[in-house]
């Protein structure tokens, strides 16, 4: 069965969506992400959707769900590389993904997450 790879990069998870998403794949991905976060103790999830050209309300909801689930498990989610057409479609569908952080490129997204990691709980612990 197809499955979207979830890569580990230090404290982060890197997910690159390069195939058309469908229900099963999305549910599998949700499963994988939540399992990996608890297994590896990841503090950030980076989802690269720069090759995603078609989007519908289902994929929008899936992104929001993954972000919400990760937050419950203590990890921040950043969606990176959204195409203009995809962004316009999501806005027209009324999905502004309020709980999801975004960045222009994988690099920018990592900076954002590393920033969150270094100013996050670890730093507080270091100061204490």
């Amino acid at each position: 069965m197809d499955r979207i790879p979830v890569l580990r990069m230090g404290p982060l998870l890197l997910i690159t969506i390069q195939v058309d998403m469908h229900d099963k794949l999305a549910i599998q991905l949700q499963d994988d992400v939540t399992n990996r976060i608890s297994e590896w103790g990841s503090t950030g999830v980076l989802i690269d959707i720069s090759s995603l050209e078609i989007v519908d309300s289902f994929i929008g909801r899936m992104l929001a769900n993954i972000a919400a689930m990760s937050r419950v498990l203590g990890a921040e989610t950043v969606v990176v590389g959204m195409q203009p057409a995809v962004a316009i479609t999501l806005v027209e569908l009324g999905m502004s993904l309020p709980g999801v952080q975004t960045a222009l490129s994988v690099e920018a997204g990592m900076e954002l997450l590393y920033g969150a990691v270094t100013t996050g709980p670890e730093n507080e612990r270091g100061e204490a």
């Binding site: 969606v79 203009p84 502004s96 975004t102 222009l104």
Partner: protein, 296 residues
């Protein structure tokens, strides 16, 4: 019916000169069209008229025989619309044929009252329809004009400017409607991707009014930019617009707004970790004594 055609073709020269005379007394636009050109146009219209009446009859203007007459009138009236004639003048061009034509028919058919009336009736019907054709062609030409200008305006009015590495500005001038928002949104998002810009400043100094619809359009653009990972700052909010926004209860709380473009630019620089430093003392100005001088 062919009486009409015969009458016209036999007395073509006389009719044409009478026509031009009547026309000139009604509307004189020698500044826009030359005598020779007008003469040519009249001659070809009379010719087409004769052909039309002969092949398709005077009643049925949709018939194939009238094609050349209709095309001729269309091209004449659209070229006149471009030259600056008014619709009144263009319609008069055709309608002023009535008087000389009726006089001619009356002269030729004085013997039979019935034939006279019939011919005059079909001639007046014909000329009225032809006048309508010219008016329609005039309006079509003007509409094409307006449409093209609208499109040009749409394309011209949405420049996306790069202010600094990673900072874009989008000065919007004129009212924001749905069609324009679409163009604005697309060009902004494309440029965000192309230049990899983290900040976009939308300047609404040139937007005359902001109502709920305009605000909604702006919010859509901002949300789409945010989804892509760019942050929008609205600048150029005039006092009246700030009041309108509050009175209408538009929620702009999630959006950073600034009074002018300079403030928004400063904010974008600050957020991207940059600062503007003066490298030498400013040129002498009357106000300089009022501020403390920098230590060298």
């Amino acid at each position: 019916m062919n009486d009409l055609a015969e009458t016209i073709s036999q007395n073509e020269n006389k009719l044409r000169s009478e026509w031009i005379r009547t026309m000139s007394s009604a509307v004189e636009r020698s500044d826009l069209i030359g005598k020779a050109e007008l003469n040519d146009q009249c001659a070809s219209i009379l010719q087409a008229l004769v052909e039309g009446v002969r092949t398709s009859g005077a009643e049925n203007l949709a018939g194939a025989g009238w094609n050349s007459a209709r095309e001729l009138l269309n091209s004449i009236s659209s070229s006149r619309a471009r030259q600056g004639f008014s619709p009144l003048e263009i319609a008069t061009f055709v309608l002023s044929l009535k008087q000389p034509l009726f006089a001619l028919i009356r002269e030729k058919m004085a013997k039979s009252q019935d034939a006279l009336f019939d011919t005059i009736w079909s001639a007046t019907q014909l000329l009225d329809q032809l006048a309508l054709v010219t008016t329609e062609a005039y309006i079509t030409t003007r509409e094409e004009f307006i449409l093209r200008q609208q499109q040009e305006l749409l394309e011209l009015s949405t420049p996306v400017v790069k202010l600094w590495d990673g900072i874009l500005a989008l000065p919007i001038i004129g009212t924001l409607d749905s069609a324009r928002t679409q163009v604005v949104m697309e060009s902004l998002l494309q440029t965000v991707v192309a230049t990899n810009s983290r900040y976009a400043i939308i300047d609404i100094t040139g937007v005359p009014t902001v109502d709920t619809l305009v605000a909604q359009h702006l919010l859509k653009t901002i949300t789409a930019a945010r989804l892509m990972g760019a942050e929008c700052i609205i600048s150029g909010v005039r006092p009246q617009i700030a009041q309108t926004i509050v009175h209408l209860g538009i929620n702009l709380e999630d959006v950073v707004t600034k009074a002018n473009l300079a403030d928004a630019f400063a904010l974008a620089l600050q957020r991207s970790g940059r600062t503007v430093v003066r490298t030498s003392a400013a040129p002498r100005s009357p106000m300089s004594g009022l501020f403390t001088k920098r230590e060298e």
